[in-house]
């Protein structure tokens, strides 16, 4: 037990010093000293509750993804069968019951239709399943049912895209080091340190930015619209600015419009005529071609510019717009025009995101907490160091040295792993100091006991370490179990606390047991004491 060959000593010292040195940049930065930039500088991240900032939990509604899939499948089915040669006539198409179902005008063409539709489905998941299930009912009705694997895949893809879009939008705000993580099936966690007011962020993320251009149904009866009766093939969309356009919705054709998702740029600007804020958009090549086609075929007709289900404005197409640029006007302020431009540039969110949890912390409270935590840690450590030294003498001094290395190593490991120190984490830190010496107390008390029983010096030390190790091991495993559950089930700050605990447990066993044993063994070899003053 007390045998430490040279290579082992070198190795243990190397681990200790490297990990302890990794703490220095963090300590320098808290103390306000400059750290030489030539050296690597891993640093402990400060959690939002210490650095100040905002935490948002965004949630998507998977139902919305399902709805959108049904709508786009309906459109694809219509287009595909219309484009088939010869054309396949269908009728009574409906998406009401969560499936796309329609009747073939000519039942003999079931196989041809099936063949066409099969190309619209894709594989989903590992099991070789398709994302849509195709069935023929009563010989002439085709029912397309979304499979669970397909839905899961669509939700996953939507969330991936949403996460990307959220990232782009936050980056456009110019904030530093945001953390954007998908959580579970339908959630995204956004953490932005140092952000004082999360309003702008939330406004930006709350905007889906789904831009659509749809033709206005000029034949719809105003009386129908007033009563909310939907003309066939239409949908009713309310105006965004009800103060200006009134509360009566506008009827637009459900199909045949285009989406404003194929943009290459969007910039805020001002209208030359009335100096109102506008957003000018530039389509990419494909989008520009579609937009040119729509405007060419519908000159002198009104079309509605719809953002997130609300009509911004419904101008008449004066002439074909073939340049690929368009200007959107719609009761903007300079700020909202800017936000819409950012949102359009970063792309539309594939689903709406709702803020279900929000935490924001001002930076002053955190700074105060760090300061007080440091003071408590300093005072606590000093008191423990003195108590241990006066109780165990030389062995206490070894334990104290181990404690100091332990504190450094916890910080060092946290800096290297890039973990985040949170407010409860500071408490975990201080607690670790109180608990870390427990191992030395156990060992030293055992050595005392063995000496009392009359064992010789070396044997007593050897026994002390050996017999105490068992209890130390069991006790630390139970702590790790508790910390692991905290990590799995906890959120944000609690997770940070669990990480500190686990790192502290591992390093404290290393310093309090292994390092002190090496030092004690070295001393025993050099001094060959006849008696132990413990």
């Amino acid at each position: 037990m007390l045998d430490f060959p040279r290579w082992k000593q070198v190795w243990l010292w190397a681990v200790t010093l490297v990990l302890a040195a990794a703490a220095l940049p963090s300590i320098f930065s808290v103390a306000g000293l400059p750290w030489p930039s030539a050296l690597p500088s891993p640093k402990v991240n400060l959690g939002l509750d210490l650095a100040g900032g905002s935490h948002l939990l965004l949630e998507a509604d998977p139902e919305q993804v399902k709805r959108q899939r049904l709508d786009s499948m309906e459109e694809e089915v219509r287009n595909r069968l219309k484009a088939a040669d010869p054309q396949i006539q269908i009728g009574d198409i409906s998406t009401a019951d969560g499936t796309v179902s329609f009747i073939l005008a000519d039942p003999t063409r079931v196989d041809a239709a099936r063949e066409q539709l099969q190309t619209l489905t894709r594989g989903a998941g590992m099991s070789g399943q398709r994302d849509w299930d195709l069935q023929v009912v009563d010989g002439n009705r085709i029912v397309m049912t979304p499979t669970q694997a397909g839905i899961d895949q669509a939700v996953t893809q939507a969330m991936q895209t949403a996460t990307e879009v959220v990232r782009k939008r936050i980056d456009s705000l110019g904030t530093r080091e945001p953390t954007i993580i998908r959580q579970g099936n339908d959630r995204i966690v956004v953490q932005v340190p140092g952000l004082k007011d999360p309003t702008a962020l939330k406004n930006l993320l709350g905007q889906t930015a789904k831009l659509e251009f749809k033709l206005v149904d000029t034949n719809a009866l105003p009386s129908d619209l007033q009563q909310g009766i939907v003309p066939p093939g239409d949908e009713l969309v309310p105006y965004q600015d009800t103060a200006r356009f009134g509360t009566v919705p506008i009827a637009v054709k459900r199909l045949g419009g285009i989406k404003g998702d194929q943009l290459s740029n969007a910039q805020p600007g001002n209208d030359d005529r009335n100096n109102q804020p506008i957003v000018s958009i530039t389509f990419d090549q494909q989008g520009g071609a579609k937009f040119a086609k729509l405007t060419t075929e519908n000159v002198k007709k009104p079309f509605a510019i719809i953002l997130d289900g609300k009509v911004l404005s419904a101008p008449v197409i004066e002439e074909p717009i073939i340049g690929g640029t368009a200007r959107i006007s719609g009761s903007f302020t300079a700020e909202s025009a800017n936000q819409l431009a950012i949102a359009l540039r970063s792309g539309a969110l594939p689903v709406d995101l709702k803020v279900v949890e929000e935490r924001s912390v001002g930076p002053d409270l955190g700074a105060d907490s760090i300061h007080k935590g440091m003071v408590a840690m300093g005072v606590g450590t000093l008191a423990v160091v003195l108590l241990i030294f006066f109780t165990y003498g030389r062995f206490g001094a070894y334990a104290d040295l181990a404690l100091v290395f332990n504190v450094m190593m916890i910080l060092g490991v946290m800096a290297i792993l890039g973990t985040t120190l949170t407010l409860p984490g500071i408490a975990g830190f201080v607690l670790t100091i109180g608990a870390a010496v427990d191992a030395n107390v156990l060992i030293n008390e055992r050595i005392r006991e063995e000496r009392k029983r009359g064992r010789r010096v070396v044997q007593a030390v050897e026994f002390g370490y050996k017999e105490a190790s068992r209890a130390i091991f069991d006790a630390n495993i139970t702590n790790i179990i508790a910390a692991a559950l905290m990590f799995i089930f906890g959120s944000g700050p609690v997770k940070g606390f669990a990480v500190v605990l686990v790192i502290g447990i591992v390093t404290s066993v290393f310093t309090a047991v292994t390092l002190t044993r090496m030092w004690v063994a070295g001393w025993l070899r050099r001094a060959r004491p006849q008696d132990l003053h413990i």
Binding site: L57, T199, K202, G206, K354, V355, V356, E357, E358, R359, S360, G362, D364, L365, S369, K372, G373, V375, A376, V379, G380, A383, L387, I388, F390, T391, G393, L423, P424, A427, V430, L431, I433, G434, A435, D438, V441, L442, E445, E449, A471, D474, A475, I477, T478, N479, I481, A482, A483, L485, I488, F489, G490, S491, P493, V494, F497, L501, H533, I534
Partner: protein, 325 residues
Amino acid sequence: MRLLKLVPDDTNIHFLKWRVPFFVVSIFLILASWGAVLTMGLNLGVDFIGGQMIRVTFTQSAEAPVAQLRGEVEKLGYGEPTIQRFGQPNQVSIRMKLPHGSESDAGKSEAMAKTITAAIQKAHPDARVDGVDSVSGKVSGELFRTGMLALGLAMIAISIYIWLRFEWQFGVGALFSLFHDVSLTLGMFAITQMEFDLNIVAAILTLIGYSLNDTIVVYDRVRENLKKFRRMPLPELLDLSVNETLARTVMTSLTMLITLTALLLLGPKVIFGFTAAITLGIFVGTYSSIYMAAPILVWLKVTSNSFVPTETALEKQERLAREGR
């Protein structure tokens, strides 16, 4: 230099003699704690019931004007606020239920936070808003469930570990003393009405781990002594084990007390409840490892047989051969 010795050598306190009265007291305390939890209820924070919490510090005042604030916030028509001091006397948390319909429109809770902070800052120019937490009912329900699940799982997982490392009686003893510690801590939160939030669940998980340290140290010594003194009556053997480890128990409790006191008095006030929970738990845990975990072994009739490996046929042969020689 004369070294400190907190526990004199050859201390022999008959702890186990008092096991029945102490056990009755412990059972009473557990029941009283649960009684307090059920009748007074825990003061659940927004983490667990949903709602909005705004934390304000009055930088120029010695004390926060709680009564005045209550009137000011109530006037805004969002309902009755729960206003509490936390940390320093000039810091308050203002808790509100989320406005109707905020589940579907996040803007509503946003607007509420804005209106309230604006009103406060207008009336008190020295008010500094330190944080706003809004948690929807759906999320708070999940946080509560996972929090409780983590607590329950931790207790069970640790007990199973003890069972595997020792014997089933030790597992039961550990589970029971953990239940005792957690109950008393919950009782403290019910009686003091300190805010019970996610951090407190973390605190309880921590004290589950640490309060078990004492139990394990005692159990480890019991196991060792069971092997050593096979004929010693169990109560006597437990007393011996507790006394032998007493110096360590006192020392470790002292170091924990020192650091936790430093944290309570000098540390960040925001986590006062968190530190208080761990402090109480550590001491309840030390007590319970002596008066709950150890006596249970007597009642569950632990014997030394469990730890002395039974002789295999080969070993018996060897022993006989040795003895024959």
